[in-house]
């Protein structure tokens, strides 16, 4: 039994923290966000030199073969520093799609491209009217006169703006699922780009009989198989979201503790008031609980038990969307007026947490998922 980080993991953590200290202070971050893309590209390139893009993938595909704890340790540091690389969406999600769905040849080809070249893919995981259910597909593929067409909507495609291509999952009348690669610069469909509250970009798409080539079909498989594979991938991603959120809430706790130790009201530090002290203690317990649940989810992800994997990851996500969200709200409250000013970093952590708490399913979705898994 061992639930501490090993030496390699401590190394990953420390070097990431150093990287962010040097390259992504709150001021540097604001500068990058308000400048053109150049500073952003520099940051990503520098971060890739640390091997972050290879970490989650097998060595035989040019990765570093990190285990689950290696990857989650890294992602936790992203949360603590409000990293602006949409790593989960530009690397982890397409990478895991490639890893689980593509044949060996395509796998080598595409993984190498996203790990080592600057080729970017974005996967369309969300649609309107299916809420958080990643298993449902309303987007249709149909054949007419031997030509392939796509009809349907995709929403909240994250990291899509900079992607060369998007991967669109869609279903035909025979319940085959296609992963279709689409050139992101095409004008033959509608798209709408918008800002997300965490300062990242997303794009919504509408395909109204969009024609594509057979060559663009990356994968074709039956729906049941699709469901099984997509489920494991999104467990992995949901765990990544929880790990990033763990970094966020840990940092919010630290910032707030620091604030109540220095801010004075009524001639005392506000941290001298017992009510504030007990709320800080509650917050401390919550971030420890969040870490424990993350730990439990990592353990069960490594073990080969789908029931425990689903249950423990859903518990982590429920906790994020309930207790951790409340703790984050309390951080804002304890910052008083400063908590709602955009110039302070605390609010940006709050927005990131708000975003992560909903991503890949809110607590209602995961309560349901837990219940179903418990019945297995």
């Amino acid at each position: 039994m061992n639930l501490s980080l090993n030496e390699e993991q401590l190394l990953i953590k420390n070097s990431a923290e150093k990287f962010f200290l040097d390259n992504l202070s709150f001021e540097q971050r604001n500068k990058i966000l308000t400048s053109d893309g150049k500073l952003f590209e520099d940051l990503i390139l520098k971060s890739k030199e640390l091997g972050w893009y290879g970490l989650p993938f097998d060595q035989k595909f040019g990765g570093l073969g990190g285990n689950i704890t290696d990857v989650m340790t890294l992602i936790e540091t992203f949360g603590a520093s409000l990293h602006i690389d949409p790593y989960i969406f530009s690397l982890l999600l397409p990478g895991k799609i490639i890893e689980h769905f593509f044949d060996e040849d395509k796998k080598s080809h595409y993984l190498d491209k996203i790990i080592n070249d600057n080729i970017k893919l974005a996967y369309c995981f969300a649609e309107p009217n299916i809420r958080f259910d990643i298993h449902k597909l309303n987007c249709k593929v149909y054949l007419e006169e031997n030509k392939y067409f796509l009809k349907g909507k995709k929403m909240l495609v994250l990291a899509a703006d900079q992607a060369n291509s998007i991967i669109v999952p869609a279903i035909d009348k025979d319940k085959n699922v296609y992963l279709v690669k689409i050139d992101n610069t095409s004008k033959n469909f509608l798209s709408n780009k918008y800002k997300i509250i965490d300062d990242s970009d997303a794009v919504d798409y509408e395909f109204d009989g969009f024609e594509f080539n057979e060559n663009d079909i990356l994968v074709k498989l039956n729906y049941d198989e699709y469901k099984k594979k997509i489920s494991i991938i999104f467990d992995y991603l949901t765990l990544a979201v929880c790990s990033e959120a763990l970094g966020v809430i840990e940092k919010m706790y630290k910032l707030t503790l620091e604030y109540v130790k220095t801010r004075e009201q009524f001639g005392k530090r506000i941290g001298d008031f017992q009510v504030i002290q007990h709320r800080m203690v509650e917050m401390y317990i919550i971030k420890e609980e969040m870490r424990s649940l993350n730990c439990s989810a990592q353990v069960s992800f490594s073990n080969n038990d789908p029931k425990e994997r689903i249950k423990s990851i859903s518990l982590n996500k429920i906790f994020l969307d309930t207790k951790a969200k409340e703790a984050a709200q309390d951080c804002i409250q304890l910052h008083g007026g400063m908590g709602v000013a955009n110039e302070m970093s605390i609010g940006h952590f709050f927005k990131k947490l708000t975003f992560l708490s909903m991503l890949f399913g809110d607590s209602d979705y995961h309560y349901k998922r837990y219940e179903l898994a418990d019945k297995i």
Partner: protein, 400 residues
């Protein structure tokens, strides 16, 4: 016990409804309903229209041009205005400085300012908080030094809501450094066009510009602009805060917001593809919210009912502020739940971008959901944070 309205009350209700349907444009109603920003001009022209029907100052005495409505009529008015998606009245003039002037002002102050407040010719803002003195008002540092018949004022006020539009600011300043901190404070009115005033925007979490920092540098203010007495500003401030606390409960606004939330839940689908309103998990949270709102509504009614009998609301009004603000926040949170992924877009940032084809992508009712959620975090902080309200209740009502 009854809350049956008299025939007279019901006629009044009809009058308000007629007024609204005649005066509120569809465009403005939609903007209010979607939580979009209302312009200064729209607010002023709406307030002027209300005043024309004598509906703008329901609590003011008739001698000052108010309507002096009964508690039940004020309740009706509040409900009708909120449920019909009319623009929120800016409280700094009519709800805050108005009653202060009526109670503490000199006849000269009253006759100059009150008519302009009634007619929305003066836009007011509130100069209470300072950097470093948020909830601890008494520690304020802005100085007013008397020189001849003028005060020379230096200092910084912050979190000043809508100061960018204001003609006048009522302000707490330090006129003496002797005695307890509360004892050296004065309540003064400052013309925002005075030399030495700079208004700097503060952008809030939601990306909006609603609050400001106001820098006062050697600002000259006539001595006659003091309200009540020099160094007695704390008394005036407390009077004003207790008025703010009641209006801050926003019962009508919350009832209207819950109605909208239910409409959304009758369109959106849950994860199993059923109407969200039938989803037990969502439904129970909604019911809990309705329960707490019903309790708040009847607590307010009980206080109004006592007022009708001539009993003034005491410090227990703090509970209206506490629960009212919590409920406002919970509604926005539940609305976030209701709209799902639509809720995480930063609509204020997006509204500046090209939105020509955005409507086909996201429903109108989802607009500004995140902005509202983020913006409402302020309600438990401002007007005396909820922690301060609990301190007040503990001391004044519970005797602890």
């Amino acid at each position: 016990m009854n809350i049956e309205f008299s025939k007279n009350d019901l006629e009044f209700q009809q009058k308000v409804r007629n007024f609204i349907s005649k005066n509120l444009s569809n465009e403005l109603r939609n903007k209010v309903a979607n939580g979009s920003e209302i312009t200064k001009e729209e607010i002023i022209s709406w307030q002027k229209a209300l005043h024309k029907e004598n509906l703008f100052a329901p609590g003011w005495k008739k001698e000052f041009g108010g309507a002096e409505l009964s508690a039940s009529k004020r309740y009706i008015l509040d409900q009708e205005l909120a449920l019909a998606d009319t623009p929120t009245i800016i409280p700094f003039g009519v709800t805050m400085i108005g009653p202060v002037l009526m109670h503490y002002g000199t006849p000269k102050q009253q006759s100059f300012f009150l008519p302009k407040i009634l007619n929305s010719d003066h836009w007011w803002c509130q100069g209470y908080s300072e950097p470093g003195s948020g909830s601890d008002l008494a520690s304020l540092k802005t100085k007013a030094i008397l020189k001849g018949d003028k005060y020379i004022i230096n200092g910084t006020k912050t979190w000043t809501t809508l100061a960018q539009y204001a003609d006048w600011m009522f302000c707490l300043v330090r006129t003496s450094f002797e005695g307890k901190p509360q004892e050296g404070i004065s309540f003064i009115m400052i013309d925002m066009k005075s030399k030495g005033i700079t208004v700097d925007p503060i952008i809030t979490l939601d990306g909006a510009h609603e609050i400001n920092t106001v820098y006062l540098e050697d600002v000259e203010v006539p001595r006659e602009n003091i309200i009540f007495e020099e160094n007695k500003g704390w008394t005036v401030a407390k009077f004003l805060l207790s008025h703010e606390r009641t209006s801050i409960a926003a019962v009508g606004k919350s009832i209207s917001a819950v109605k909208k939330l239910k409409q959304i839940a009758n369109i959106e689908l849950n994860n199993e593809g059923s109407l969200l309103i039938t989803d037990k998990r969502f439904r129970d949270r909604l019911t809990t919210l309705e329960m707490d709102l019903k309790a708040l509504e009847f607590t307010e009614l009980r206080i109004l009912s006592e007022e009708n009998k001539g009993v003034a609301p005491g410090p227990e009004a703090s509970l209206l502020k506490i629960r009212g603000s919590e409920i406002q926040q919970r509604i926005t949170e539940l609305t976030m739940n209701a709209v799902g992924y639509y809720g995480i877009s930063n609509d204020l940032a997006n509204s500046n971008a090209d939105r020509s084809n955005s409507n086909q992508f996201r429903p109108d009712y989802s607009q500004n959901t995140a902005a509202n959620y983020l913006n409402m975090r302020k309600t438990t902080i401002y007007g005396g944070s909820n922690e301060i309200q609990k301190n007040i209740l503990s001391k004044m009502v519970l005797g602890l």
